[in-house]
């Protein structure tokens, strides 16, 4: 019993119990992305969708469990690696870091209402005005 409780705490603490979905604005002209393509977007190298629309990248704060799960599961990276990439481009002039939002609810609203937006949410049936992107190897 004690072990199960500790395990549950560890799982909750590390965020492994979460599952995340990559979501975009409904008009984004793609249904799936490879891990490499998704990394390109979140490393801020990919500027445009295939139809020319600018990619707008949204993230949650580094310590948010949804962000940590997204980084590890979908990007196959650790959050500190993403921080390093964004800090390097921001402070050496190579580009702009993603826009950091404060909550999952704000993430849903911003992605749904911003042309070309991409973000991520906790797995849920409530997906109104969002397009779910399948991530493949």
């Amino acid at each position: 019993m004690k072990i199960k409780f500790v395990t549950a705490c560890v799982v909750l603490w590390t965020g492994y119990a979460l599952a995340t979905e990559v979501v975009t604005h409904p008009a984004v002209p793609m249904d799936q992305l490879t891990v490499t393509q998704l990394r390109g977007i979140y490393s801020m190298r990919q500027q445009n969708w295939p139809d020319g629309t600018a990619v707008r990248v949204f993230v949650l704060p580094a310590k948010n469990p949804i962000h940590q799960t997204f980084a590890k599961e979908k990007l196959q990276m650790f959050p500190y690696q993403l921080d390093r990439i964004w800090q390097k481009i921001t402070y050496s002039g190579l580009g702009a870091a993603p826009v950091v939002l404060t909550s999952e609810q704000q993430m849903r609203e911003m992605v749904a209402n911003t042309e070309g937006a991409i973000g991520y949410i906790e797995n849920s049936d409530e997906l109104s005005k969002l397009k779910v992107i399948r991530v493949t190897q």
């Binding site: 500027q47 295939p50 921001t90 002039g93």
Partner: protein
């Protein structure tokens, strides 16, 4: 007011001013940020002491000359042209020139961008993108340590190595073997008299000029791998024109570097390493007809471990030999008739550090260095026998940093 309380007052005043400046600048930056224009910055202040050396100061005291400030802007002029600039204020004591400077200001033209590859051209003053920490060596929270490994990031060369005025390209391409990044740059840095004297000592009264620096680098991030591997090459020529009354003669120097780097990332720990071989070819300069062609070698390995959720520990080993064929420095010492001790021929550094994050953008770093040898203390071309008196010396530093 005695000397120590005066120093303490100056430090406290400096910190208050920095905090005030930080809150004002961040409020302004938040107000000015739009989709097209982004503002960011950083503020940091620390204490450092390196007794028995000329590294930071000459009186061996605890120094507050550890200040890094910066504010930058990125402005998207069109879909594929961007203007980026950063102004910094740096105070590293005697490590490099103190003051405000234009760190970078360039146009970034994205020549091609799709899901497979991207090509950018940079024109203006840009940062050195070729080594692991070169692009952000003045941005304290992007470094593993307050004082970077001197084998590769020699502070006396900081003003020359940090960036260039010129032209650069960056190509990133997704291949079946993973992501490949290729950087190429051509440019030069205009050296002020103060910068020249940090390199050549205050005996230099003439004009030092960097004719050009040509660099290329390749980074490879294999798919499904925690590794990043890289190689970089550098070629640079300098000239020196002596003043009427001068210790040195007219002369020329060539510096060439070959470097390899690697980084391994695990969830709770990380390793990073760089190896460098540097050729220094000096013609005339010390005296008409003088000629010396030598190869130095250096290497560091840094390991970071995530001790607690907000705390990282650092262990670093940094080794440097001024002449790869004279690692003990004996021949070098003999060539000066024993005037310069052999320990000016090498510098090995063991560092332990702790970093604690109070918030996502507020960090305190503390570190201690145990060092043997003085080959990476000023001046590169003129050993400072008066102030670098010990083969074994220590250094500690702590730095509080905030960024937005």
């Amino acid at each position: 007011m005695n000397y120590l309380s005066l120093k303490s007052f100056v430090l406290r005043s400096k910190l208050c001013l920095l905090l005030l400046l930080g809150s004002v600048v961040q409020a302004q930056a938040d107000g000015l940020t739009t989709d097209k224009v982004r503002w960011h910055g950083f503020i940091s202040q620390g204490l450092i002491q390196a007794p028995e050396t000329n590294f930071v100061n000459l009186d061996d005291s605890i120094s507050a000359e550890l200040t890094d400030l910066g504010v930058n802007m990125s402005w998207a002029l069109t879909d594929n042209v961007r203007l980026a600039g950063q102004v910094v204020y740096l105070d590293g004591g005697r490590r490099y020139t103190k003051g405000t400077r234009l760190d970078y200001l360039f146009l970034d033209w994205t020549l091609h961008s799709d899901f497979d590859w991207r090509l950018d051209m940079f024109v203006g003053r840009f940062k050195n993108q070729h080594w692991l920490y070169s692009a952000t060596r003045d941005v304290p929270f992007t470094r593993n340590a307050i004082v970077l490994p001197q084998s590769v990031y020699f502070d006396s060369f900081r003003d020359i190595a940090v960036g260039s005025d010129g032209l650069a390209f960056k190509l990133t391409r997704n291949t079946s073997l993973g992501e490949v990044e290729l950087n190429w740059s051509w440019g030069a840095t205009n050296l002020s008299k103060e910068q020249s004297q940090i390199l050549l000592s205050q005996l230099a009264q003439g004009d030092a000029e960097q004719e050009y620096v040509h660099q290329a680098s390749l980074f490879w991030r294999p798919d499904q791998s925690a590794w990043q591997l890289g190689i970089s090459l550098l070629d640079s020529d300098f000239t020196y024109e002596k003043a009427e009354q001068d210790y040195y003669s007219d002369g020329a120097m060539t510096i060439q570097r070959v470097m390899f780097n690697g980084r391994y990332a695990a969830e709770f720990w990380e390793l990073s390493s760089e190896w460098v071989q540097e050729r220094l070819d000096i013609s005339d300069f010390y005296a008409p007809g003088f000629k010396r062609d030598s190869f130095s070698q250096g290497w560091y390995l840094q390991g970071r471990y995530n001790l607690l959720p907000k705390t990282w520990a650092l262990l670093s080993v940094d080794l440097f030999d001024l002449d790869k064929d004279d690692r003990s420095g004996r021949k070098f010492s003999q060539s000066t008739g024993g005037l310069v001790p052999a320990y000016f021929g090498y510098q090995d550094d063991l560092t332990f550090g702790i970093t604690y994050d109070f918030k996502d953008n507020l960090r305190l770093t503390m570190e201690h260095h145990w060092v043997k040898g003085t080959a990476r203390l000023a001046y590169p071309v003129m050993p400072d026998l008066q102030y670098n008196k010990s083969e074994y010396w220590q250094m500690w530093a702590m730095q509080l940093m905030y960024w937005f």
